[in-house]
Every structure is written in structure tokens, then in C-alpha cells.
Symmetry: C3
Subunit: 404 residues, 3 copies
């Protein structure tokens, strides 16, 4: 194969050898060499003293401030925060000629003023439920014969234990359950408690930054008892008033009240504490932001999975020595109050930038301020090519221009 | 104007021209020049090998530890934490000759052992409320004629829907509401459940750091069943006992029990997990801190907006086929248990400091340990002025002094 | 003492003096000297322009991106997250011949779909409790004579106020309490609501990263109404289905269902949002992890302090104008849904590494690409010893090998 090319393998061999040599050299050089920057040792008292002093300050700063005061490892502080909420307002319903008034003990779940709670705006009530047998609702649990209703079985989406009977009138299985079965096929429209729009929410939020020993409340200095008794939150006019109209909250989150009131939804109120603790602590004030969480009409939620916000709630009672209950399917606005805190403290990165200050300053003194600066420049810099008359720039990360 | 000074404008022009030139030069130099440190290339096998080995170790550390094990981008771990609380103790009240005993199912809201809950210490009870019409409480909703009470309207701070009648006896509007209206104008003093001081709170807290695979519980190794059955938290003597007397919690937060019990308040208990996972995981133990959140007597809260902590809670029942309810205005101590975690792991900053180690060590070897060190010093350093006999200092961020 | 050694103190004195001198020199040198790296000033237009351009880009990046867009001080974003839960399923019990069906309004605490809730799996029921006097349970509160029962005293672990009587039949103190006293000495085994294994939990979680303007829901694009109506979470086959079988949750946390159902326990479900926002936001999907929190059978919890999870819950009612209550000691599975978020954004560390890029690139151009590279090498590097033919390596943190 190599008949006509005697030298070829040979030249190939040579170049291979050469390359091999080069690689060997490169490797041996790589392992046996070491380069280090050349230094100019300046024996000048002024420059030396300035430099040492700056280094000392930096050192003191690092040890004293960063490690002792700030404990070094932590630049942001986890805040201890607590939220207390209180709704006010009364709702009125007239269903089937029966008038009812709903106060805070009836429409807020849970009652104790949690940071996350639900305000009822609509409901389906099923009164006088008792433990007995009755047919399931027509619709999901249809049957044509007793064989379709396996006795003793519990269906996950059913309401009770099947007795094995198929009821003729409804064509559904008979179950042992809280009877009558709740009929939630039709959600009241318009929502029964549209008056919820005028309820107000009072938020009390206290926040502590333990590391900085700072405690703040959303009832800041300007928010006193007199102001609270008459104010109402408005993003522009009263951004610090801690009393919010439910209708405003809904609108600020991008919802339409009558839509959200019908099927329910969730809203996040973010209390944002972005505080620069270098300034007066009184300037550390909260900001309120409103986010629609579920049932956002901007999402095409209708087409998607789960709409609205609802849960079931039962009130048990005894009548004629029998346990009964009133079942409420509650549609409501769930409000989550989320406290966000960010403490801004001017913290230099320890490792490199701070240490570099001394060098930068001393070089500036050496090269631009001392009378012998030209001499030092020549010591420090070795020029490669001369084009035009020269002056020297000390360019670091942020170019510093200097004319002399 | 310039008669007597012919040369002046000329000299001004000259200096302007000079300055212009200088600026042009400076700019062109700035853009066309580049400086780089001069390096000494040391061809010494010992130094070279040492240097490469250290660099290799650093590289292995960075790649292996920082990027693979710690996933590089994360230095602190979000902990998964869960808190379970359980109150114990019995309260006793005697109001209008009627004796009552209050147990945990009656005085803790919510009942299920949440990390945030309220312990009732005082209450205003309104029994047998029914949906009917009755006049509002004297005070806020006064009226002089029927015209003051617009029929069908709901007042935000009222208790129900106005019927349009002004009741002569009380001079207040008549409302459709849960009647009789709760009279909360006088808060029982002393608080009805002063015995709450002796209730105990048991805290069970489990914390998991998923990234480190560490799970800890506040029932640490030394806290066994026998110890729990008899211990009581004390900041000095038993700082790990998870059973707290309510009176102690209140005192440690800086409150006075009888004050806070009367109108309510909020207390944060911080369970602080600051763990150095380099040490034995058994040394990772919780610390309990107590913070007064609302109603702090140190604040001049009286003068300020909202005092105390209370909420309304209703127990519904049926009597003679009519729905009635018992309304409780609950004054209590809200306790928020907040888990804070901080995992300290000795993590070098990757970018600069770690990489610099190789250089520092090699320079030390080169300049202070090798027999030819004087030669290398002369290569590395260029002396500017000689004052006295010299030895060389290698000063980095933290001045390292070396006598030779 | 020093007779035979005249020179000794002298030589000691000399060496002491010498050392003293050396220290003085060292100190004065330390304070009056200053070294700075020697620089090569390259007057080459190509290299200069390249270098300045790169520096400009870096500067623009730092100012524009890091400080304006990311606000510089923040690299991770606190997410605003909200969780809504909904259980489905029916339980059935037959105790003493009485059949009961338990639906979601009866077995979930609290009812409103919180992120932390308890599913009842076992219970001890005490019906018809009234406020009267009765003896304590035999066991803890034994007495032999009336003297052992101090009248009017409340025992922390007791159930009421002692009347001062010791009851002969039970040898326990008589108390004013909700009578009859709950007998919780025997926990039903097997648990009464083993059917809880087939309950399902639906989790709806919405998360917003306000800084990035990104909102995601755990009902991601592929999870539509049709998919939800039929899917069930499986770590491998349907990792995005938001419907979980309670039995699966328990198994995935490392528990055995019948064990945990008997005495209760706590499980954490972590919804993990680790999102790289550089990629399409649709790729930002949740992962579900399950952690056993309390009652973990892997812990030797039996030997340790507190086992299981239970709380007491009372349903009050009126019978014959007397207030009565049904007390439930609920054993259940507490589920905590914890949302974890981590946004990965490719952020260069500002201070040193980014700034270094310009230098590295320019050195590469200077030493390896320019025709005069050999000349520049000689300027930049001063060789100490020559061994073999040379080429130069520019080794920084990550050794970059280059053959020429």
C-alpha cells in the first residue's frame, strides 16, 4: 500500500514524533514550571505608611464588623412575623322568605383571626341531615338494577355506604349517609352574600428582625387610633391604612367581585417590608400588594381543571335525642396574608474587593501624586512599543481615567 | 478688552490646545493600550510540582464538593419543619353562681394542635341568641327619630339590618340580628380564666434538611419519656424541656400575665435551629426564644391603635325547633410558633480565595524555603530605593510577617 | 553563677541585640515598604481595543443586568405561594351496632382547606357530657382518703376542680367536670376508620415570583380538567397528577397505614419548585416529596417521648335546656403541605470573576494569537532557569493548556 511513498510514513513518523515531543514537553513544562507576578518593592515611607494604614482599617472592618457584629455568615435576617386579622361587617340574606343576618362569627373560617382565612360569599345549605338511608343524587351515581349498587361498598365520590338497592324513582343507588343528600348541582346566582363587598378587613402585622433588634408594626407612627377609626386603604391616598374594603381587595387583585363571590377564589395580600436599616427605622414602612391566586379570570381557568374555592362545613345539633347536622357548602374568598421582608444592609463582599482597596489607593498615590511618580511608573511598567508621548493608565475593572 | 495682553489669549489658546491634545492622547492611549502584570516563569521542578498538586486539589474540591455534593448554587438549605402543640390544664369559672370547668377542647382555638393558636383567658358570653329584631346597644348607633334609621341598610360597625325604627327606651335603631345584641362594653376584670397561668404547652417540632439528609426533633437524645413526664422549661435549668408553663411564656416575653389575660395579646415562640453540621448531629439542639408581638406594655399601645387580641366564636344549637347560638367574645393569648433554621457549613467562596491558595503556598516555598531563595527574590522583586539592609515581606490581605 | 562563661552573656547579648535589630527592621520595613506588581504596558491597538470592548461589555452587564434588572442585592426571589386542599371520600364505622358514615365535613380539621390539616383515622367518643361532679378515671388520680383530694384545687393533668371527696368505688378524687370523664385508656384497634386509606387529597398550589413576574400553578399545562377527573398520583407514571390517595401518601413517607391510623402521625408533603427561568416557563413543574415527620417507625419512638398525633374536639348542644357536649379524642394523620421554591438564574459573581474575563481574553490574544507573540512573551515573562526548549503556559485557576 505504501509502495510509492517511501518518505511519507517517514515524514509522518517525524511529525508524529515532533508532536509527541511537543506534548511531552508541554506536559513536563506544565508540571515543572510555575509563574508568579513580578513585584516592585517600593521603599518609600509615605507610600508604605499609607498602605499599611488602609490595610489595617480594612482588616479592622473585616474582623470587627463582618465577623463580630454581623456574624459573618449571615447577610439577611429571617424575620419573626405575626399576623392578626379581623373582619367587620354584616351580611343579610332572604331565602324562601326567611331573613337571616350573618355576622363575623358566622362568615369567617376559622374564627380566631388567622393570617389565612375564608370569607363566605355564597353557600348551599342542607338542613336537618340525619344518619339514615336515602338515594344518591341523580347524575353521577346512576343505576339500572340492584346489581349496579354493590352492598357495603363506599364510592370515593359518593356520599355514603351503598345498601345494594337501586331506587326506582331517581335511578340511583341507595346509600347510608347524612340524609337528605346535599344537592349542589346549582350554585345560587347572584351570590347570596353580595353584601360581603362592603365588609372590611383589619390587618395587624408585627415583624421582628432579631439579629438587628428591630421590631416594627404595620401600625406605624402616623397610624394612630384616631386615624384608624376613619381611614380606608387606598393605594394612592392612604397606602398605610390597615383597613381594607373586601371589594377593593378583590378589584386590586384583578378580579370581578360578583364573579369571585359566586364560586369563590383565593387572593394573596403581600405585606412587603423592604427596609434599609441604615436609615431611620421609622422610614421602614410596609407596602401592600394584592395577587389573585386561584380562579383568576385572566387564566382560562374555565377550560382548565378546578374552578373557585369551596369547602363543606357542618353544624351538629341534637333534636328529639337524635344527632342532626346542618351542612353548609361554603363558597368564599380565601385570603392569605403573606409577609415578605428584605433587610438591605450595605455589606461589602469580604474576600477580594475589600482587600483590593489598599492596593488601588497606594498605586494611585505612587503613580499620580508623588513627585517621583515618573520614576515609579518606569519601575512598575515596562513599555513594549512607543507610539506618541505617553502617560499611563491604571485600568482596573471600572476604567479610571486620569490626566496629568 | 484684551489690548494690553496680546500674548494672553495666545497663551490661553496654547494651553487649551495642549489640554485638548492631552485629552485626545489620553483617550487614544486608553483605547489602544493594555497592561498586564509581568510574570516570572520559574523553571523549578519542586516548586512546579507542588504548585500543580495544590491546584489539582483545589480543582477537585471545587468540582467534587461544591458542584456535585452541594450542587454549587445553594449554600443554605430550606428546612422542612412541622410543629405540633398540645395544651394541658383545666380552668374554672364561677359567674353569677354558675360553676364551669373549661378543658382543652373548650379553650384552645383551633383544636387540632396547630403551630398558631389562641388560648382563651377571658370572655364575654351571650347565650340564647336568636334571629329576631331588637334595638342596638346604646352608644355608637344612637338615633332621635325613625329618620335616623334607614330601613334595609346594613351599617359596617352595626350588628344587623336596620328595620327603620328608632327605639325610644335605648335611643338606638332597631335591627334584625342575633338578639339579644352582645354587650361588650365592659371587659371582665380580673380576667375570668386567671387559672390559665398554670396551663402547660407541649411543643413537638420536627425539622428536616433535605439537602443534607438530616432530620432532627426538639425531643433530642436527652429528652426521653421519663424526663418529659416531670420537666418544665426553664431558660437556665432545663432549656431543652419542651413543656412550657403559660405564665412563664408570658413573663419571658416581657408581659404581665394579668394584663395580657384581660384583653389578650400575641406571643411568638421562636424555635431556633442554628446547626453546624460539621459537628456531631447530636449537638444540633433547639433554642427557644420568646417575643411579645402585640399588646406589648413597653409600647405605648394604649395611646396607639389596636389593643389586645380578641375574636368572636359562635356555638349553634337547636331549641324548640329554632336555631339559637351562644356567642363568645374570646380574649386570649395567641401563640405563634416560628421555626428558624440556619445551617452553617464551612463553604469557601469558590471564585477567588480558593484559587489563590496555590499561588500563596508556592510563593512561600519559592521565597522562603528553597536554597536559591535570594535569587528568586531578586527575580520577583525589583527594588526601587535602598534604605537599610533588606528583607522582603510578602504582604497580602492579612499581613504575614516573616523574619529570615 | 556566670564565672566560667565570660563571653556567654556577651554572645547572648549580641544575638539578642541582633534579633532585636532584625525585629525593628522587619517592623520598619513592614510599615515603610510597599510592593506592587510590575506591569507590561502593551502599546498595541488591536489588543487595546479588544480589551476595552470586553471591559465595556462587562461593565454594561454589571450595571445593566445586575443592578438595574436584578436589583443587585437579590439573587433568589421569595415566592408568594398559596395552597388549597380538598379531601374526598367517605368513611364507615359500626360501633356497638350503631352504623355511621363520616364525610369530609366530619373528618377533616379544620374544614376550610388549609395547607395544614388533620384527617381523622381513629377516635374515642364520649357522648352526653354535662357539667356536674363525678370521680376521676382510675389510674393517675388515686386517693385513699378525703385528705388526698384538696377541695377547690385544679390538677394540671386532671379533668376538673376537686370537690374534696374521695370516691370509694373508684378510689379516685371527685371532680366538677364534664361528666362522664373520657376514658382514653384503650385506643380502638384496629382503627375505626381504616377506610381512610382510600380517601383522596387534591392539592391546588399557586406560586408567584413577583420579581420575575412569573406565576405558576401545580395544575400545569398538561393537567386539564379531563386528566384530573381520572388521574391518581404515582411517582413514576403520573408525577404531575395533583390527586393523591391517602394510603399512597402514607406509604411514600415510609409509614405503615394501619400503624399510623391507630395512634396518628404527621406527614410533610413538599411541593418543590426548582425552576430555571432561563428555559421556557412551561418547563417549570412541581415535584412532590413525602416526609414522615412524627411517629416515624424508623425512629425508636416507642422508647422515646411522645407517640402519635391526637387532639380533643367538642361538639356542644342543648338537650332539655341543659348544655351538653360530645367529646371526640381524634387520632389522625396531620398533613403539612410545604412549598419550596428555588429559582436558578445564571448570575455571575460581580466582584472579581467577571472583571477578570477581559484580562484573560486579552492575555490569550497577546500571547498566543498575535504574530509578535514571542516578543510579548519575553516582555511579560522573565525566565529564571532554562530547561529544554520552552513554551509558555498561562495557568490560572483552571489550567488552560495550549500547544504552539
Amino acid at each position: 500500500m505504501y509502495e510509492s511513498g517511501v518518505e511519507r510514513p517517514s515524514s509522518l513518523w517525524v511529525s508524529q514524533q515532533k508532536m509527541k515531543n511537543q506534548i511531552t514537553n508541554a506536559l513536563s513544562n506544565f508540571f515543572f514550571e510555575y509563574e508568579t507576578p513580578r513585584q516592585v518593592l517600593v521603599r518609600n515611607r509615605r507610600v508604605g505608611v499609607v498602605c499599611r494604614l488602609i490595610q489595617l482599617l480594612v482588616l479592622a472592618y473585616i474582623i470587627g464588623w463582618v465577623f463580630i457584629y454581623e456574624k459573618g455568615y449571615q447577610s439577611t435576617d429571617t424575620a419573626v412575623s405575626s399576623v392578626f386579622t379581623k373582619m367587620k361587617g354584616v351580611g343579610y340574606t332572604k331565602v324562601d322568605g326567611r331573613e337571616s343576618v350573618w355576622d363575623v362569627a358566622d362568615y369567617v373560617f376559622p374564627p380566631q383571626g388567622d393570617s389565612s382565612f375564608v370569607v363566605m360569599t355564597n353557600y348551599i345549605i342542607t338542613e336537618g341531615q340525619m344518619m339514615k338511608t336515602c338515594p344518591e343524587l341523580p347524575g353521577k351515581h346512576n343505576c339500572s338494577s340492584h346489581a349496579d349498587c354493590e352492598g357495603g361498598k363506599l364510592k370515593r365520590t359518593g356520599h355514603g355506604q351503598m345498601t345494594g338497592m337501586c331506587v326506582n324513582e331517581t335511578h340511583t343507588c341507595e346509600v347510608l349517609a347524612w340524609c337528605p343528600i346535599e344537592d349542589d348541582r346549582k350554585i345560587p346566582d347572584p351570590p347570596l352574600l353580595m353584601s360581603a363587598e362592603n365588609y372590611t378587613l383589619f390587618i395587624k402585622n408585627s415583624i421582628t428582625f432579631p439579629l438587628f433588634g428591630v421590631t416594627r408594626s404595620n401600625l406605624v407612627e402616623s397610624v394612630d387610633a384616631k386615624y384608624i377609626s376613619q381611614c380606608l386603604y387606598d393605594p394612592k391616598d392612604s397606602p398605610l391604612c390597615p383597613i381594607f374594603r373586601l371589594g377593593d381587595i378583590v378589584n386590586l387583585s384583578g378580579f370581578n367581585f360578583s364573579t369571585i363571590a359566586r364560586e369563590g377564589g383565593a387572593i394573596g395580600i403581600v405585606v412587603d417590608w423592604t427596609c434599609n436599616l441604615d436609615l431611620d427605622v421609622k422610614k421602614c414602612k410596609p407596602k401592600y400588594n394584592f395577587h389573585g391566586l386561584y380562579g383568576n379570570p385572566n387564566e382560562t381557568d374555565k377550560a382548565r381543571a378546578s374552578v373557585g374555592y369551596n369547602f363543606r362545613y357542618a353544624k351538629h345539633y341534637m333534636e328529639d335525642s337524635k344527632e342532626k347536622r346542618t351542612l353548609l357548602k361554603v363558597f368564599g374568598i380565601r385570603i392569605d396574608i403573606i409577609v415578605q421582608s428584605l433587610v438591605i444592609i450595605p455589606k461589602c463582599t469580604t474576600d477580594s474587593s475589600v482587600c483590593g482597596i489598599a492596593t488601588v489607593v497606594c498605586d494611585l498615590v505612587l503613580l499620580y501624586l508623588l513627585p517621583k511618580r515618573e520614576f515609579y511608573k518606569n519601575m512598575k511598567f515596562k513599555y513594549t512599543e512607543t507610539h506618541e508621548e505617553s502617560f499611563i493608565l491604571n485600568t482596573r475593572c471600572f476604567p479610571q481615567q486620569e490626566l496629568n
